[in-house]
Symmetry: C2
Subunit: 464 residues, 2 copies
């Protein structure tokens, strides 16, 4: 495999910059192209997911490039979901019964800058900001780009082109619009949109609510969440239907309506958000979509990775983690299939796609779990039992959430299959009164395992 | 509901012309617009599915407009699959054990002309041929069209617009490209393409092979089929992978290769096709795709129907039948939800979409069944047993094929659910030797029913 002829990476977001760094560490000449200005030199947009959940699968990617220590400094551990009811009462629902398992809030631009700095420090990486990819010629393997300042068109080529240009990927659109390329594509939207708001830091940069948790105000059809930032603030996200609801984006059109809605549903947070209505009307409302497609590669010359290949909704906190895991999985195929890009691309997709499909589906499921079930008594009983299993039998029990989030050696697809069966098993057993208070925990665990196996067998009977 | 203000129908194919006729019979003023020239005045393209399978669900649509007798004259009954092996041996696998159940081969242009004639005969229908819809303004509910001869742009409006403009629907594209319209869309291609060929009529217009069957040459990965035409010819369709196969469209590039392939795989048909290689290289190779989308309607002003809303692969012979059933189902909602188009459109989709999703999935399944399983011993044993059930217990047993094709009172979704469980049940029982020759048929039926129920219960356990 020729390491001198450059490889071209379109998109220097989280996935693209990690990939660039890794490929450069492997000795490739890397040309990285980014539509936006250098994020280290401009102020960040308000209202565009400035923090994210970062967990074990993401850390595998960071470990691959040796940046664990630097990344840890950006992390704020969140040990569970802090559930807020309409009276302002709160309780913590831990993410795991094992003490060392937690997720982190991390700044998207902070992490992105760290990766870009690290890539740029290598002699074999060049980065072009303000350079938009208009389309990719899939046969020739070249990207037609426009410099946003000079408006000059440039044709960039590389031995291969990676499309890491996010959910709205131009590289993917080049595949989807190519008349002769049979591109399987699906795009599914939730009926909800999202809007980002802020709880500013307190007087001395202190946190106005608990910084060690992901806060959720579950309200059935709608939901507010908040994640801490290093500066003491929280980024708050409202998830709300676009229409067909008493309160929805299409009818929250006046300051009074917005105040009424927040006072009624989220009274404990209103006092912490002095700029609520200004932000509500200034910040954009974004849609929430899932994109799946196939093939990810064309002619052994172009490969989609990260959100460009599999955009998912944010409710499992796995978007960035899945993209970083893409880089880890792809990297392994560079060792096993040396020399032939087409083989590498196809083997990578054959191995990886069922997992990104799985996390896409799990993320949609979790939307319903978060907004509806976290406030539900049966669900809470289930979580309590799972925490007891995990803390007393740490090697024997993993909840679905733990398998997906913390058991990074298990594939998403496997986690989904076992996790769904286990969830149904516990909910059925609790619902039917088969796990009474007085039953010893060990017996409960055995019963849950047996019932889970029954669910998995039913799936087998059906050939799923 | 105002019947004077015209309703606009984009696309005068099978679905659009049936819909136009029905709406006109209901008293609406109908403007029907069609991109192509009047098919009654031009010669038909070669190689574009000139005959189709027509069965009970399609007949419901024809009965709705009272054209049964005229349509029956166009029908050639096909009682089963005539399977051809590589030695030229044949055997008939009936479609049903009930005598009155068969499908028909029908001419697409013949049926289309009949519907257009009938619509045009009504005073409240106007038809514009050679008029292309460029896009639909979803807010205003008007269609921007271009006259293909004068190149003049026209804006057409109607109280509502129906998009019946087929799999490549411009009306659907107007939804999919609208920035603020959250349009769920999926497009999935098979790895196979298709090409149409011909067995011409014999000297006196006689049929050179049995006209009472749908002929199949199943070859595992590829397949040839043939349906009779009224003039004594057969339309033959080759289904073949695009690539990655010993013989595939991408490597059948010379007359010799095509001859070798046909001589090896379909020797009995080669002698019947004097124009084989000419047709092979003159006729286009088409892709085979499934399109699903949602919502089908926008702003209570535009509704997609037929292939525009749900393009399916041809392997269940249900494409036209599903589109005609759309018209029947839609028509019923005009009675139950008078006056409000938006309510009618939404109620229609809520009721109908699970069924068009089901037939889309069933049609893909049937591709594998036809090319692989029809030649398989276990599959043949299963069909033999099902034929015995159907002929001896005509009211108690319906195969999946019969439910989908002949039991037009059962929805596609229900047929899929029960039919899949039943297929698995029989195959498992046969495979495990639980249905020995000597067992009385009645006992076999009871066992199949019991095992089917077990499959359905397993699906219930999983909440499917």
């Amino acid at each position: 495999m020729n390491k001198d002829e450059p490889i071209l990476i379109i998109g220097a977001g989280l996935c693209g910059s990690l990939l660039a760094l890794r490929m450069a560490q492997r000795g490739f000449n890397v040309k990285l192209v980014e539509r936006r200005p250098d994020l280290r030199k401009v102020e960040q947009d308000a209202g565009k997911s400035i923090n994210l959940a970062f967990s074990d699968r993401g850390m595998k990617g960071i470990a691959l490039v040796g940046l664990q220590d630097e990344v840890k400094k950006l992390c704020i551990p969140m040990h569970g979901r802090m559930i807020h009811d309409t009276q302002g009462n709160t309780f913590l629902s831990p993410y795991s019964g094992r003490e060392n398992e937690y997720i982190n809030s991390i700044s998207r631009p902070g992490l992105n800058m760290l990766l870009i700095d690290a890539a740029e420090a290598l002699p074999n990486v060049s980065i072009n900001f303000n350079m938009s990819c208009d389309y990719v010629d899939l046969e020739k393997g070249l990207a037609v780009c426009t410099d946003n300042e000079s408006k000059q068109e440039t044709k960039l080529s590389g031995q291969v082109i990676f499309g890491t240009d996010g959910a709205g990927s131009r590289v993917r659109k080049s595949m989807s619009r190519h008349r002769k390329f049979l591109f399987n594509f699906s795009q599914q939207w939730l009926t909800h949109g999202y809007k980002e708001l802020t709880i500013p830091a307190g007087p001395n940069g202190d946190y106005l609510t608990d910084k060690g948790a992901l806060h959720i105000w579950p309200r059935g059809e709608d939901m507010l969440i908040a994640l801490p930032n290093l500066d003491g603030s929280f980024t708050v996200t409202l998830f709300l239907p676009y229409d067909n609801s008493d309160y929805c984006f299409n009818n929250l059109t006046s300051v009074e309506r917005v105040k009424d809605y927040f006072n009624q549903e989220f009274p404990d947070v209103v006092t912490l958000m002095p700029n609520l209505t200004t932000e509500f009307f200034n910040n954009p409302t974004g849609p929430l979509g899932t994109i799946k497609c196939s093939p990810w590669s064309a002619n052994g010359k172009t490969l989609l990775m990260g959100d460009a290949a599999h955009a998912i909704v944010p409710f499992y906190g796995q978007g960035m983690n899945a993209s970083f895991e893409d880089v880890v999985e792809f990297d392994a195929f560079l060792d096993t299939h040396t020399g032939d890009w087409q083989q590498i691309f196809e083997a990578y997709q054959a191995h990886r796609k069922k997992d990104t499909d799985a996390i896409a589906d799990l993320a949609v499921d979790n939307f319903h779990e978060m907004k509806e079930h976290t406030a539900n008594a049966l669900f809470q009983e289930k979580r309590k039992l799972e925490m007891a299993f995990e803390s007393n039998y740490p090697n024997d029990y993993y909840s679905k959430y733990s398998m997906v989030t913390f058991k990074a050696s298990m594939s998403y697809h496997e986690a989904m299959k076992i996790g769904r069966a286990q969830d149904k098993a516990i909910l059925n057993l609790l619902n039917d009164g088969h796990l009474p208070e007085e039953m010893p925990l060990e017996k409960k665990l055995a019963l849950v395992k047996k019932e889970t196996q029954k669910m998995l067998n039913a799936a087998n009977i059906l050939g799923d």
